[in-house]
């Protein structure tokens, strides 16, 4: 099992959610986050004076998947979140030791 963490542009969240649902992903966790990568921040004007926005607002999606679904999941996230511009985000994949469904006590892929 793998835990996929994807950082995407906020306006892409509906596309990504629909695409993941389309391949049978049944759950995800979404967090509003801020950060920077190659896009860096930008400056804005308020009453004629500049100020820096160092951290860009992003959406973080966390999805746990069975190993068999990993490649397909990465593929649909990459496709649906792609805007062709700097700042589209990143996908991180880490090994998942265990998953437990709290209500039933099921473990492993049954619990995903």
């Amino acid at each position: 099992m793998k835990l996929i963490t994807a950082i995407i542009k906020p306006f892409k969240i509906d596309d990504v959610r629909d695409a993941l649902a389309g391949i049978g992903i049944q759950g995800m966790t979404v967090t509003e986050v801020k950060g920077f990568g190659r896009q860096k921040g930008h400056t804005e004007l308020y009453r004629g004076a500049e100020y820096n926005v160092d951290f860009m607002p992003k959406i973080k999606i966390e999805v746990a998947v069975a190993d068999s679904l990993l490649d397909q999941t990465i593929e649909v996230i990459t496709e649906s979140a792609n805007n062709g511009k700097v700042g589209d985000g990143k996908i991180f994949v880490v090994e998942l030791d265990q998953v437990i469904r709290i209500r039933t006590g099921e473990t492993g892929e049954e619990a995903i």
């Binding site: 804005e44 004007l45 308020y46 009453r47 004629g48 004076a49 500049e50 100020y51």
Partner: protein
């Protein structure tokens, strides 16, 4: 029958005065919301506390001694007839003698009520300029002197008809107080800001100004609308009466022109900000509406609606350049009060000479008298406060927000249990 008509006119003028006073009182709410919107959320409770407290201080000090200094109304209002001692026959006789075209005759208490809310307006101007870093109690101590002495003395020289020492009577025309109220408040604010210094983080190491965006633009917008509405009482009530066809028409003109000037100011500031900064800066548009109002306040009665729109628009242009200019001079004014009320207040007074029939000399001397008096006396009071109780919170308190250090409560508390 004739007596009953004069009684009715007396009642109508008094009622009009009171309603206008209530509208001006509501401007205190406008200032409170505007300032609460343009500061950071960590300083919200404190700026609201300053706004409500300064209003109460102004009303109390003006009753104690301010009204005496300005209009000779006696300490504790001993000079005006209030409950019990009112001579109805004398009031009726005066009303009948003056008729509908002469000087206004109305209840003495209504005159005090209308004047006292103007004092609070002048003081409200100060609170926005010194926001986010001044000690609450030093500010209120200043409010005591400003509303009890500094403003009433210069108000006495202008509206009160008192002679200025060494200069004599002024030849100065200022209908509702572009200079007497607004520029005076801004002069006190300017002195305060100079001795207080800019907010921490306002200027980069190389001296370039940095933006500190306000926390709540809906509140700032609501505050501007409230001020806009209250201004109908501010300018409209300054006609001092309503009864009679000629006077009623003048009142209607004042309302129309006040509204027109605010609109002109807003449009002009919005366009100038769009051209200068590339985006429609809402806060500048709000300041533009207020600048239009301040600009027309010195002469809202005699101009046409089109001229009033133009005068307001000039005010709206001036205010944007003034805000950017003061920013560069390291005069940190979070809400733009010194520009809106001071720079544009000066323009409003001069506009009476440019577009109306006042003399340039009289207007300039009047402005100088008001500015020098208010700026010098305010500076003395600020310096005295600085030397004794201190006027600025500590660096750490400023960083944490004055809500906690001065009031001990947050405006938007979270994680309480």
């Amino acid at each position: 029958m004739e007596n009953q008509i004069f009684e009715l006119a007396y009642a109508m003028d008094t009622f009009y005065f009171l309603i206008c006073g209530a509208l001006v009182m509501w401007m205190a709410a406008g200032f409170a919301m505007l300032e609460a919107g343009l500061v950071r959320s960590k300083n919200t409770t404190e700026i609201l506390t300053k706004n409500v407290a300064l209003f109460a201080v102004a009303c109390t000090m003006y009753m104690l001694c301010g009204y005496e200094f300005m209009y000779g109304g006696g300490y504790l209002l001993s000079g005006i007839e209030t409950t019990g001692g009112i001579d109805a026959a004398a009031a009726l006789a005066a009303k009948a003698e003056n008729g509908f075209d002469g000087d206004s005759v109305y209840s003495g208490a209504s005159d005090f009520f209308f004047q006292v809310v103007f004092v609070a307006t002048a003081m409200s101007i100060v609170s926005g300029a010194v926001a986010e870093r001044m000690k609450l109690w030093a500010f209120l101590a200043f409010a005591v002197v400003m509303t009890g002495v500094i403003y009433p003395i210069e108000g006495g020289w202008t509206w009160g008809g008192n002679e200025v020492p060494l200069i004599g009577a002024l030849d100065y025309s200022d209908y509702a107080g572009s200079g007497i109220v607004h520029m005076a408040g801004a002069a006190a604010a300017l002195a305060g800001v100079i001795f207080l210094g800019p907010r921490a983080g306002k200027y980069a190491a190389d001296g370039s100004p940095r933006a500190i965006p306000g926390a709540n633009l809906p509140l700032a917008t609501l505050g501007t609308f409230i001020l806009w509405m209250g201004w109908f009482g501010f300018n409209g009530g300054s006609t001092l009466k309503l009864s009679g066809i000629g006077v009623a028409n003048e009142v209607a003109n004042v309302f129309m022109n006040t509204n027109a000037a605010a609109s002109g100011g807003l449009i002009a500031a919005l366009l100038v900000a769009r051209i200068m900064f590339g985006k429609a800066d809402l806060t500048m548009a709000l300041n533009g509406a207020l600048a239009g109002l301040v600009a027309i306040t010195a002469d809202p009665a005699s101009q046409s609606a089109a001229m009033s729109t133009l005068i307001g628009a000039i005010g709206g242009v001036i205010v944007v350049f003034s805000i950017v200019g003061l920013d560069k001079l390291k005069i940190d004014d979070p809400v733009g009060a010194i520009s809106v009320h001071g720079t544009v207040g000066i323009f409003g007074v001069l506009a009476v000479a440019i577009f109306g029939d006042a003399s340039f000399g009289g207007q300039i001397i009047g402005l100088l008298v008001i500015f020098v008096w208010v700026f010098v006396t305010s500076s003395i009071v600020w310096l005295a406060l600085k030397a004794t109780m201190g006027i600025r919170v500590s660096e750490e308190e400023e960083f944490e927000g004055v809500d906690m250090s001065e009031c001990g409560m947050e405006a938007y508390p979270e994680f309480t249990s």
